[in-house]
């Protein structure tokens, strides 16, 4: 992709090239957010035996656009006693944390925003910026309930980054690289080479490693849901904290940015899980249906599948209480993942 763009005379070696490269995920993110809002609406409605919007366009396909338009033209209310600078800055920080993660996700064999060898490490680090944004949002709102929600949310995200990192470690140990492009390339051989099924290892090792990689994958899914603040981990956003937790005092464009950042974060988490465990842009059939364009289709499909699972789980399960949430992270997931890491390491060495 980069070579293709470089060949266009106007872009060439100028800064415009990098701006275009950076804008591509942004465009993808916006389109994806619209689609996911619609998918969530429809999936949740059909699970609940009802139809969702049917009037804005056939089956409500234009509803997300209507939502965006509505949010754009809404008044931006800022509480009088709020810290105006922080209040304005925090949505964009949250957005930046999510958008920055798009740089290291391999969308196809020909396109990755930034082909650094520390891809995974960078991803885990940059998604922590979200925490800063959330805390800033809760503090700047000058609202007791927002602060409650923000602090809880921060504690939750920080706690669940550790199981996520450990699960990622399992995949990294098998693929022997932190670069997501290399990890995806390693799973090109077809569905049997996917790391969730043991990766491209000799058969005995593969069978021994498979239960642990499956557990690690499921744990990564759960940690991902917790990172995005969705049910069953959405106590910071709902219920006793009324309205929206740290989101309470936001409206209009800033709320739209928060909203979109949440959906984009869902995709980031899904794409990371897909790249590491489900083969990324590699086709499950090996050579058939593979190629640069097909790769993009595959990773989006896998990402959407995991997003669908996230939506499905949201509308099925009740919420965990804050202390139960912490218990799950620290006392259940981390020991289990330590066990996985240890076992996989042992198997690979022996």
């Amino acid at each position: 992709m980069e070579e293709l763009l470089r060949s266009i005379p106007i872009l060439g070696e100028s800064i415009l090239l990098y701006l275009v490269l950076a804008a591509l995920p942004l465009v993808f993110m916006l389109l994806y957010a619209l689609v996911t809002v619609w998918v969530e609406m429809k999936v949740s409605a059909h699970i609940q035996d009802r139809l969702a919007y049917m009037r804005t366009g056939p089956h409500g396909v234009a509803q997300p656009i209507a939502d965006v338009l509505k949010l754009l033209q809404k008044e931006n209310t800022v509480p009088a006693t709020a810290d105006k600078f922080l209040h304005a800055l925090s949505p964009y920080l949250v957005f930046a944390g999510t958008y920055g993660a798009f740089a290291a996700i391999p969308f196809s064999s020909a396109y990755i925003g930034s082909n650094i060898d520390l891809g995974v490490f960078y991803l885990v680090a940059v998604s922590s910026i979200v925490v800063v944004g959330i805390l800033m949002a809760g503090w700047a709102s000058n609202n007791k309930w927002s602060l409650f929600g923000a602090v809880r949310s921060a504690a939750q995200i920080i706690s669940y980054e550790i199981p996520a990192a450990l699960a990622i470690l399992v995949a990294v140990m098998i693929s022997e690289s932190l670069n997501l492009q290399v990890v995806s390339r390693l799973q090109q051989g077809g569905i049997q080479d996917w790391i969730v099924f043991g990766g491209a290892l000799p058969l005995t090792q593969k069978l021994l490693v498979m239960p642990f990689t499956i557990i690690a994958f499921l744990m990564l899914l759960i940690a991902g849901i917790a990172e995005v603040n969705r049910t069953p981990f959405d106590l910071p956003e709902a219920e006793s904290e009324l309205v929206q937790g740290y989101n309470t005092e936001y409206s209009g464009m800033r709320f739209a940015v928060f909203y979109m950042a949440e959906y984009a974060n869902m995709f980031v988490v899904a794409a990371i899980a897909a790249s590491l465990f489900l083969g990324g842009w590699a086709s499950p059939f090996g050579e058939f249906l593979s190629g640069p364009i097909w790769g993009f289709v595959w990773i989006v499909a896998k990402g959407m599948f995991i997003v669908f699972v996230q939506i499905w789980v949201r509308w099925t399960l009740p919420r965990l209480r804050v202390d139960q949430l912490m218990y799950t992270a620290w006392k259940v997931m981390i020991p289990a993942l330590f066990l996985c890491v240890f076992a996989v390491g042992l198997i690979l060495v022996l």
């Binding site: 999936v43 409605a45 059909h46 699970i47 609940q48 035996d49 009802r50 139809l51 049917m54 499905w312 789980v313 509308w315 099925t316 399960l317 259940v332």
Partner: protein, 196 residues
């Protein structure tokens, strides 16, 4: 000690199994048809006994005021004018002879609580609850339904006739009383038997 450890694993197992059962329960619903009716394109079919907006067939109303008395929220206002014997107001469709003009029959449908208590006492079954439920208005005063069809002229005529009849009756009564007093004066000997 072992109790806590086995509890720990049992909780994890129960959590995983019940979550899996829950997910399995919701997934098939994605493929079952939904139960939503697309109103206003599709409307629910209402049963025949349904109690929605009131309707009064004013031609059948005999002005007995039973519905107004039965209403628990006082949403029916009725005014009647007695008719004189020379007026023939006709007969209702159920055979009752109408003896009262009804110049005002207002129902404030915004106050109505749709209990149906006004329907039962009506002797001519002229007040009924229909199946109309789409009757919202922009102005609240339009929700006061005036069922009477008497024009002000007719109301005045009826009132005038009633007044005249009452005056005539009063005059006749006065004349009869005067005549009795006169006959009692002219025949003093004849005493009436003592009143028991």
């Amino acid at each position: 000690m072992t109790n806590a450890v086995s509890d720990y694993f049992r909780t994890i197992w129960k959590a995983i199994s019940t979550i899996a059962i829950g997910l399995k329960t919701t997934f098939p619903h994605l493929f079952t048809p939904s139960v939503t009716l697309q109103y206003p394109d599709q409307k629910m079919k209402l049963p025949e006994r349904v109690r929605n907006r009131l309707y009064v067939n004013i031609d059948d109303c005999i002005g007995c005021d039973q519905c107004s008395l039965a209403c628990p929220v006082d949403c029916i206002t009725i005014e009647t004018i007695k008719s004189t014997p020379d007026q023939d107001l006709g007969v209702t469709s159920t055979g009752h002879k109408k003896r009262l003009h009804v110049p005002q029959f207002d129902i404030d449908i915004a106050k109505c609580c749709y209990c149906g208590l006004c329907v039962y006492p009506c002797p001519t079954e002229c007040i009924v609850m229909t199946d109309v439920y789409e009757f919202s208005e922009y102005d609240r005063h339009n929700l006061v339904y005036n069922f009477s069809r008497m024009v002000p002229q007719d109301i005045e005529t009826a009132k005038a006739k009633l007044k005249k009849a009452e005056e005539e009756a009063a005059a006749k009564k006065a004349a009869a009383a005067a005549a009795k007093a006169a006959s009692a004066d002219s025949a003093p000997g004849q005493s009436k038997p003592p009143a028991s």
